[in-house]
């Protein structure tokens, strides 16, 4: 059975299945969500108005048998945070279940005429529109629990918390994890507000007896799957007992701190004296000491890397998943807080309310920088989530993210690009990531530029890590490679083994080609990734973006970052080279 597009119209509460148009048939995941958004959403529309859409798509290999770590879902729309195109990618249960229902994508459009809220229940028989009155205002922990009680087949739950209901710009989209907790998020860019603007509180996906995913060339798929699995399972970082499995993404906290690149106290320093206390190593100690929680947790079925964790409370009960590096940094170093229990509490608040932890942590830090709270005041920081939950005027400002909060409190040190705040890597100390922050169509995003093998990137032996030279070309190649991986359904962390192990890269390409019915040689990852970037870039241009938007914030050019006392030095004309092939 060919894949279909499910189009849900909230204006008249109808739905229809459409054949995938030929022009879209080569895309999946991010490639497909960005293509549909670019074709169907007017770039100048208001992100919360009736003309924006929420597009959801699994990757090429999602839902196929035993493709390793392949449970990523792509969410797309026009971002209320950036005003540009947004693709946000998440683990959890949704990708494989949507794919197994034979769907290439779900498009949610329109706004209910009755201004009521709905839950959409999707299974092999179609879509049921149910009133969401009974779950309005509830946090995602409760929402997930309610729906697994109501629907015994343990469906995927794609939902928004109270922040999404109020259509605030830092609202993310929650996806339940294998334990039915709201630990996985398509967090960045405010797509939860776009879902809220459609009047949808939750989309429940039950794949029972679905048709499954067609694989055009099973032999090629299996050969690729084996190569990629072997590479993941043998690489130091991704194998069982490897860095990611032992300490999760928070394995980076101490390293980046030792390098002087850990943004601290709202990007005013590059080292935090309390970094070790909020690191992945400390999480491992807490899990062992408290006898609860776990490291090596998988965020979706079939993940072989298992970099997630469940953090235990003081009594050893499972408290929150997941304390990622970026989340621990956002509420930790960036707010001057060195107490992992408080960091975990704030992450849980985000999971429940439906907030992006990176934007929320940066927002608290900017609020502190404005003098409203001392850096390091963990009780004060935690209490801010009560304001958001109450939807007090202060809570509504904080729920809008960093730029709104900076304006409200007179802060000039605003670590954003295109309205989206930076993650846990200081671009003054780590120059390469600064180029990607500045130029990606997504706004400051650490996942927008993953490394690809030098020979694929065409830069083997030419990279000088200490100079600005060549970083524009490199960033473009990284961004293209990432756009391709985001389209596969594979987790971005396969980037490590496919960079270092040649057969791993071949395995990724062959498994994708096997599903699509192409020859492996016909799948050009970088060229396809560049096509996706072009689509996204052109959307932003039509929305009014110019090269002036591809800049890091001004303060980074004149405020020296200790301990290296460095400023951002990349010339604007070099940044403009990244997309000169389009512009």
């Amino acid at each position: 059975m060919s894949k279909q597009i499910l189009r849900i119209n909230m204006a008249d509460l109808s739905y229809k299945y459409e054949k995938v148009p030929k022009k879209w048939s080569k895309w999946a995941g991010r490639g497909l969500t960005s293509t549909i958004v670019a074709e169907e959403v007017e770039p100048t529309c208001h992100p919360l108005g009736p003309n924006n859409k929420l597009v959801i798509a699994p990757g090429w290999v999602s839902g196929t048998p035993a493709a390793p770590s392949s449970g990523r879902t792509s969410f797309g729309g026009k971002s209320p945070l950036t005003g540009g195109i947004k693709e946000s990618n998440s683990g959890g249960l949704s990708s494989q279940k949507i794919a197994k229902l034979g769907l290439a994508a779900i498009i949610i459009e329109g706004t209910p005429k009755d201004e009521k809220w709905y839950t959409l229940f999707l299974n092999k028989d179609g879509v049921k529109f149910e009133s969401a009155d009974d779950i309005l205002g509830k946090g995602m922990y409760q929402v997930d629990e309610i729906f697994w009680k109501k629907y015994p087949n343990e469906p995927a739950i794609i939902g928004i918390g109270p922040v999404g209901e109020k259509k605030l710009s830092n609202a993310g989209i929650s996806i339940n994890d294998p334990e039915n907790k709201p630990g996985r998020y398509a967090a960045r860019g405010g797509l939860g507000a776009v879902m809220g603007a459609r009047g949808v509180k939750a989309l429940i996906v039950d794949d029972t007896d679905g048709p499954g995913v067609d694989i055009a060339d099973m032999d090629l798929f299996k050969a690729g799957r084996k190569k990629l699995t072997d590479a993941i399972m043998s690489h130091d970082l991704t194998k069982p007992g490897g860095g990611l499995n032992l300490y999760g993404t928070n394995v980076l906290m101490n390293i980046v701190n030792e390098a002087g690149g850990l943004p601290t106290r709202n990007f005013s320093a590059g080292q935090f004296e309390g970094a070790a206390k909020i690191s992945g190593e400390m999480i491992a100690e807490m899990v062992e000491k408290r006898g609860g929680g776990m490291t090596g947790h998988g965020c979706h079925p079939g993940c072989v890397i298992k970099c997630s964790n469940i953090y235990p409370d003081e009594e050893g009960n499972d408290f929150v998943s997941c304390v990622e590096y970026e989340s621990a940094w956002a509420f930790g170093a960036n707010c001057g807080i060195d107490d992992l229990d408080y960091v975990a509490k704030m992450i849980r608040e985000c999971n429940d309310l439906g907030l992006d932890t990176i934007e929320a942590g940066n927002t608290v830090a900017v609020y502190m920088d404005g003098g409203a709270l001392e850096f390091g005041d963990k009780e004060g920081a935690l209490s801010l989530f009560d304001e958001i939950r109450k939807m007090s005027p202060l809570g509504r400002i904080l729920g809008q993210g960093v730029e709104a909060t900076a304006k409200a409190f007179g802060v000039h040190r605003v670590p954003t690009v295109k309205g989206q705040s930076m993650p846990a890597y200081e671009p003054r100390a780590i120059k390469g990531i600064g180029v990607t922050y500045a130029t990606t169509p997504m706004g400051a995003d650490h996942t927008a530029g993953y490394t690809i093998a030098p020979e694929i990137a065409g830069v083997s032996g030419k990279v000088d890590p200490l100079t600005d030279e060549g970083k524009a070309d490199l960033s473009l190649t990284f961004q293209a490679a990432t756009a391709f991986i985001d389209s596969t359904g594979y987790c971005l962390f396969i980037a490590f083994p496919i960079l270092d192990i040649e057969t791993g890269f071949a395995g990724m390409v062959e498994s994708v080609a096997g599903v699509m019915g192409l020859k492996a040689d016909d799948v050009d990852a970088i060229a396809m990734g560049k096509e996706v970037l072009k689509i996204e870039r052109e959307f932003n241009t039509r929305a009014g973006f110019t090269s002036a938007d591809d800049r890091l914030p001004e303060f980074m050019r004149y405020e020296k970052l200790p301990p290296h006392d460095v400023v951002w030095t990349m010339p604007d004309e070099d940044l403009d080279k990244v997309y000169s092939w389009i512009d």
Binding site: S234, H235, G243, G260, A276, E281, D464, P465, K471, D500
Partner: protein, 120 residues
């Protein structure tokens, strides 16, 4: 006699009587180099991953560019296990020692690990 502050991260913390993190102050001979430090704490060089001296990267997993670097009184050394990751895109442009720059130019700066991945 230089006094050196050392932090060991990951399973190599056991060489400093820790589980996941060990912090210690050591007095080393006047002409001590990084290799002297590794011998003092009995840390095999094959178990040493990223190594920093005062926020400057001096070595990477599988490379041995730092072993002859002289240590100074008051230096802080951070050493990570071989399992610690640091993706290239998150270290592109950081401060590195001259010896490591040369080693990376020869070995390929963009790798995530410099160990022979076929070795256990």
């Amino acid at each position: 006699m230089p006094n050196i502050n050392v932090t060991l991260y990951g399973d190599i913390a056991s060489y400093g009587a820790g589980k996941h993190i060990a912090i210690m102050d050591l007095d080393l001979p006047d002409d001590a180099v990084i290799d002297t430090l590794l011998q003092e704490i009995s840390l095999p060089s094959t178990e040493r991953g990223y190594l920093f001296v005062n926020a400057v990267l001096f070595d990477a997993p599988g490379l041995y560019a730092s072993k002859d670097e002289l240590l100074q009184n008051g230096d802080h050394i951070g050493i990570f296990s071989i399992r610690h990751m640091w993706p290239y895109q998150y270290r592109d442009g950081i401060h590195m020692s001259e010896a490591l720059q040369i080693a990376m130019e020869e070995s390929g700066a963009m790798k995530n690990t410099y160990r022979d991945i076929n070795q256990p």
